[in-house]
Symmetry: C2
Subunit: 251 residues, 2 copies
């Protein structure tokens, strides 16, 4: 199994606190020692960092924790390999360009039989069931023109429902404009807005007072496999229902 | 204009010395302050680092200089924007998946009129002439099955010749197995093999004795816009001819 992290905000936001909470689960307090990846959107562009080392040890993860990168949409993942070898091509998030936008995808779970699903023009580079599922999704999204957000929501829901018949299927997808989520077993979220308070990581000795680092209009939502903090209320996402974040708000 | 760097080796090789030589040209001794990117192949997987900051200042570039990443195929670029705004989606190298392989592309020059060339399924995310040229190339490479190395060489040559009618067109392309190069104005190379000697960067106070960091069977070739060292002989690539590196050797 793996752990997912997604963030959506209405202003470019520093995700290092949440990433730290995720990264310690990559081989330190959690078993997810088989690589990690994080994709930051900056407009239509993406900046990515990934490594096959456990995120708790990786110097690339340390850089991510040190850099004050601000973004409105982020997808991250720490991996515990079950399907597919431990190598870079099997690390999530996966991304592909579709009609001039980078789509980014991360999956938690196992999808036995997914490789029977037919692919269109997008082909896996690695051997995971997750990347095959992503390529299948993109094949369904593909068409003669760029898909609208309404179409992405609809197709994502149809494909996610189909995948969920195969096994555990918790998903985070982004095209930079929105974060699309789907839960079968584990995916929780929190939305932070004024009045902001202090948050304390569950698995690392780190506290941030968000009141000190935000403005009153900021809205930031985080989704994760398990709650990252132990003094806030995280809510499970509804089961088998597409949930979409735009600018930090559920749409 | 921009500066290109490509490396091919028969063993996973540390490229930090050459990258340092390139990075100082990104805003320190050179004018290429509009971002940089570097893609390392590890088998079929890629690890990339990019930033819109000048490479001489970017903390991401510092990380790349600090990390002993070893790879058999690398493509890097420092940018001085002429076509397209300074943002992440316009930083080279660009990459796309084609039939289950990541293709990586960097360009030095300007290609006025390139946007009239018709695109297939690959679409630019940014606004540069370079990314349009890459998407056009991939459209020509596309087909019902994965292109062989012979086909990549042939199509790359045809497209590069076509692009060279438009303007300055120095190119580095890789799919991880080979580095494909094309020069109209500036692209030089060096092949290092036993007996290895010391090399001194032209633009930074740094010397490496390759005899200390190699084995007798290592073969490493580097291509760059301008010579990176001042005590070695760099040879210009032949003009308007596809040159292909595999495992450090010209094929």
């Amino acid at each position: 199994m793996c752990e997912l992290l997604g963030m959506s905000a209405n202003v470019p936001t520093d995700i290092r606190f949440s990433f730290r909470g995720l990264a310690v689960r990559g081989g330190q307090v959690g078993p997810h020692r088989d690589g990690f990846g994080i994709v930051f959107y900056h407009g239509k562009g993406i900046q990515e960092f990934r490594d096959v080392d456990a995120s708790c040890h990786s110097p690339v993860a340390r850089l991510v924790e040190d850099l004050p990168i601000r973004s409105k949409a982020v997808v991250a993942h720490v991996r515990q390999a079950n399907a597919g070898a431990v190598n870079l091509e099997n690390t999530h998030p996966f991304h592909r360009e579709l009609h001039g936008r980078h789509f980014t995808f991360a999956h938690n779970g196992q999808l036995p039989g997914v490789k029977k699903l037919p692919l269109g023009r997008f082909k896996p580079v690695g051997t995971t069931d997750s990347e095959h599922a992503f390529c299948y999704l993109l094949g369904q999204l593909d068409g003669t023109k760029a898909p609208s957000m309404a179409r992405i929501r609809k197709i994502f829901g149809q494909v996610a429902a189909q995948l969920s018949e195969l096994g555990v299927c918790n998903l985070v997808l982004s095209d930079g404009r929105a974060i699309y989520c789907w839960r079968t077993t584990k995916l929780v979220s929190i939305t932070r807005r004024a009045p902001f308070g202090a948050a304390r990581l569950q698995d690392a000795d780190m506290t941030v007072d968000f009141a000190q680092v935000t403005t009153p209009n900021d809205v930031v939502s985080v989704v994760a496999t398990d709650p990252l903090t132990d003094n806030e209320e995280w809510a499970p996402l509804p089961e088998r229902k597409v949930c979409v974040l735009v600018d930090g708000e559920w749409k």
